[in-house]
C-alpha cells in the first residue's frame, strides 16, 4: 500500500475531545496515531466495537472534525492549509452514506427533489430539466425502477432498503471519488442487506470509487472490502488484506472478535468478562487492549507497541510480534 497511489490519506492522526462539565473537565483521546489510506476503486473496511473510533475516522475524513495532531492528505496535498474553493471541491469529491436511512432523508420532500438539489447546487447540471433527467438516471442506477414513480414519492412510502438506495443515489449525484459509508446496512433487514452491498460493489468496480466501509460485521467487511483495519480504543491494532485479517488474524483482539462471531469459533471465548471501554486519557500509557488481553506482557502496560509490518500487506500493533 504505497502512499503515492492513495487518493485520500490520514497520517498519524490523533483527535481529542473535551468532555465533562465546568469544574470537572477532562480530555478524551478518541483517536490515537491512526494512519489510513483510501485507494481508487478499492474499499477499506473499518471494524471495531462501538466507541472504538470508527465513525470518528469518517467524520475526520469528511471534514466535520479537525485533527488534533497529524494531517489528512487529499491527492497528496494536506487539508490543513487548503483554500475555501478547494474545500468546496473536496466536499463534493468525498460523500457520506449514513447508517439510518429513516433520518438521513427529509420526510417532507419528494425523492426526486432531494436528488435534484445537490445536482443543481453543485453545478453538475445547470437547469431543472437536466437535473430531473439526471436524477432519473441515478435512480435507475441504484435499482429503483421505475424512476419516475420513485421520484414522485416521499421517503415514508419507501422501505428501508429503498431509502438507503436513495441515499446512495444522492451521494452519487455529485460524482464523488470517495464514499464514506458508515454502517450502511446495519439498520436494514437481513434479506435486503446483500442487495445494498452488491450495489456498492458494482459502483466500486464500475466507477472506481474509493470506499471507507464502517461496520462491526467482519463477514460483510470481508465480502465488500479489499482491506480491513481493526480499531480498538481509538488505536489501529491490525490492518491488512481482507483475507489475511479474516483467515490469519494475529492481534489478540482481532482473534477475540472473530471467535465471538456465532458459528465461526468452536472454542468459547477465553477473554475475561470485563467489557468496560478502555481508559482514553491522552497521557494513557501502553496498549489499550492490555486489560482484556489473555497474552499481555509486562511491557504492554508501559509502552504503546509500534505498528509493525508482518507481511507485504499486513501490519499489527502488538508486542507479541
Amino acid at each position: 500500500m504505497t502512499s503515492e497511489s492513495a487518493l485520500l490519506r490520514m497520517e498519524n492522526v490523533s483527535l481529542d475531545f473535551k468532555t465533562g462539565t465546568w469544574g470537572r473537565r477532562s480530555v478524551l483521546r478518541a483517536l490515537r496515531d491512526v494512519s489510513l489510506s483510501l485507494r481508487l476503486g478499492k474499499a477499506l473496511a473499518l471494524v471495531g466495537e462501538s466507541g472504538s473510533g470508527k465513525s470518528t475516522c469518517a467524520r475526520l475524513l469528511s471534514g466535520l472534525h479537525q485533527p488534533t495532531a497529524g494531517d489528512i492528505y487529499w491527492r497528496g496535498a494536506g487539508l490543513g492549509q487548503r483554500k475555501s474553493k478547494e474545500t468546496a471541491a473536496y466536499r463534493r469529491s468525498v460523500q457520506m452514506i449514513f447508517q439510518d436511512p429513516f433520518s438521513s432523508l427529509n420526510p417532507a420532500l419528494s425523492i426526486g427533489y432531494q436528488i435534484e438539489r445537490p445536482l443543481l447546487a453543485n453545478g453538475v447540471v445547470d437547469n431543472a430539466a437536466d437535473a430531473a433527467r439526471q436524477a432519473r438516471i441515478l435512480l435507475e442506477r441504484v435499482g429503483l425502477h421505475p424512476a419516475d414513480e420513485t421520484a414522485a414519492k416521499r421517503p415514508h412510502e419507501l422501505s428501508g432498503g429503498q431509502r438507503q438506495r436513495v441515499a446512495i443515489a444522492r451521494a452519487l449525484a455529485v460524482k464523488p471519488e470517495v464514499i464514506l459509508a458508515d454502517e450502511p446496512t446495519s439498520m436494514l433487514d437481513v434479506s435486503v442487506r446483500i442487495g445494498i452491498l452488491n450495489l456498492l460493489l458494482d459502483l466500486k468496480q464500475e466507477q472506481g470509487i474509493a470506499f471507507l466501509f464502517i461496520t462491526h460485521d467482519l463477514a460483510s467487511a470481508r465480502y465488500f472490502a479489499d482491506d480491513i483495519a481493526v480499531l480498538y480504543g481509538g488505536s489501529l491494532v491490525e490492518q491488512g488484506d481482507s483475507e489475511a485479517i479474516t483467515q490469519n488474524p494475529q492481534h489478540p483482539y482481532t482473534r477475540l472478535l472473530l471467535n465471538s462471531i456465532p458459528g465461526a469459533g468452536d472454542n468459547p471465548s477465553t477473554a475475561p468478562a470485563q467489557t468496560d471501554a478502555p481508559m482514553r486519557q491522552p497521557d494513557a500509557k501502553g496498549c489499550p487492549f492490555v486489560h482484556r488481553c489473555p497474552q499481555a506482557l509486562a511491557e504492554c502496560r508501559e509502552v504503546m507497541p509500534a505498528l509493525r509490518q508482518l507481511a507485504d500487506n499486513h501490519a499489527i500493533r502488538c508486542h507479541l510480534y
Binding site: 432498503g161 437481513v190 460493489l201 456465532p262
Partner: protein
C-alpha cells in the same frame, strides 16, 4: 408430547392503522417444551416480537389479539383475569427486552429496580429482596458491590445482564428474550449468550428467543421457527433448519449472509421487499419474491404441513415428494 410448557394455538394479532387493519401475526401455532430454547427468526415486521408480546399479554391498543389461545401448562394466558395475570407475570414468565439502555430507569439505583420487581410479585421484606438481588448479581457475573450504582455507570452489556438478573428473580419457567443482544457488540454478545446458556442449563427454564440473526440462533437454540409476513413458514430443530432448510424463504435467508471462510463469491440476496400487512395476501406471502413460485402459489394459501418428525413447513413445492428431487439435484 407431555412436557409441553407453552402451547400457542392459532394465534392472530391485528393492529388498527390508518390504512386499515394490519394482521401482524396470522394463525400461528407452536409449542415450547420445558427446558427448551425455542427461537423465532425473521425480518423486522414479520411479527416475531408481536408474538412474544402477545404471550406476555403486553399488546396494547391499537393492537389486539383477535383469535387463538396461549396455553401455559394448559391454562389460557389470554383469558386470565387481572389478579391471575399479575401472579403469572414474572413468577412464571418474564421478559428481557431489546435495548437494556431504555429498559432501566436512569434516575433510580439498579438495586432498587430489581428489588421492586421482586417485591411487586412476592411477599418478602426489603432485606430479603436485597439479599436476593445480591445473589442474582453474582449469578450474572456483576460485582455485588455495585448494587447501588445507577444504570449509566454500567456498560451496555452489564445493563443487559442486570435485565437478565431481573428476569431470573422469581425463577420463572419461561423467559421471553426479544433480541437481547442486538444492540451489543459481538464480543459482548458472545459473553451474554454464554451466560444465558449456562444459567439455562443450571435452572432448566425455557427460553423464547427472538432474533433476526440466524447464525446466532443456529448456535444457541434447540428448535427454530421461521416467520414471514406474520406467518410461520417453517419450524424444526436448529440443526434441521440450519443444514437442510426446506422453505425457499429460509434457504434464501441463509444464502444471503456473507461468510467468514470459504470462497468469496457474489451472493444474490432476496429480490423485492416483504409485503405490506394491510393488504390481504392471497396465497403464499413469499411467492412474489420466491424463485420456485408457481402460479398456484399466488392463489392458494399454504398451510403448515409435516415434513418429517417434528418438522413442519408451509410450502406446496416442498410438501410434495419434491424433497427427494432437490436433494438429488444437490448431489449431482
Amino acid at each position: 408430547m407431555t412436557d409441553v410448557l407453552l402451547s400457542i394455538r392459532n394465534l392472530c394479532v391485528d393492529y388498527l392503522t390508518d390504512a386499515g387493519v394490519a394482521r401482524a401475526v396470522d394463525d400461528i401455532s407452536f409449542d415450547i417444551r420445558a427446558g427448551e430454547v425455542f427461537g423465532l427468526a425473521g425480518e423486522s415486521g414479520c411479527g416475531k416480537s408481536t408474538t412474544a408480546f402477545a404471550i406476555a399479554r403486553l399488546i396494547r391498543m391499537p393492537g389486539f389479539v383477535s383469535d387463538g389461545e396461549v396455553l401455559f401448562e394448559g391454562e389460557d394466558v389470554l383469558r386470565m383475569d387481572a389478579k391471575r395475570l399479575r401472579a403469572f407475570r414474572w413468577a412464571q414468565t418474564s421478559v428481557v427486552l431489546q435495548s437494556a439502555m431504555n429498559a432501566l430507569n436512569p434516575v433510580i439505583r439498579v438495586s432498587e429496580q430489581v428489588c421492586d420487581a421482586i417485591r411487586a410479585h412476592q411477599r418478602v421484606n426489603e432485606d430479603q429482596a436485597r439479599s436476593r438481588t445480591r445473589e442474582l448479581f453474582a449469578l450474572v457475573g456483576i460485582d455485588p458491590g455495585r448494587l447501588d450504582d445507577y444504570p449509566h455507570q454500567f456498560s451496555g452489556g452489564m445493563r443487559q445482564r442486570i435485565c437478565i438478573a431481573m428476569a431470573l428473580a422469581l425463577r420463572p419457567r419461561l423467559i421471553i428474550m426479544d433480541e437481547p443482544t442486538t444492540a451489543l457488540d459481538v464480543v459482548v454478545q458472545r459473553d451474554i449468550i454464554g451466560k444465558i446458556s449456562a444459567l439455562q442449563r443450571e435452572f432448566g427454564f425455557s427460553v423464547l428467543f427472538i432474533s433476526h440473526d440466524l447464525g446466532l440462533m443456529l448456535e444457541f437454540c434447540d428448535r427454530i421457527g421461521v416467520m414471514y409476513a406474520g406467518r410461520l413458514v417453517e419450524a424444526g430443530t436448529a440443526r434441521q433448519v440450519g443444514e437442510q432448510p426446506a422453505h425457499p424463504y429460509t434457504q434464501a435467508l441463509l444464502r444471503s449472509f456473507p461468510s467468514l471462510c470459504g470462497p468469496r463469491r457474489r451472493l444474490q440476496g432476496i429480490p423485492g421487499a416483504p409485503p405490506r400487512l394491510t393488504e390481504s395476501i392471497a396465497g403464499c406471502a413469499f411467492a412474489p419474491r420466491c424463485e420456485k413460485a408457481e402460479s398456484t402459489c399466488l392463489t392458494q394459501t399454504q398451510a403448515l404441513a409435516s415434513l418429517t418428525e417434528g418438522r413442519v413447513v408451509a410450502c406446496a413445492r416442498v410438501s410434495r415428494p419434491l424433497v427427494a428431487t432437490t436433494q438429488t439435484a444437490e448431489v449431482s
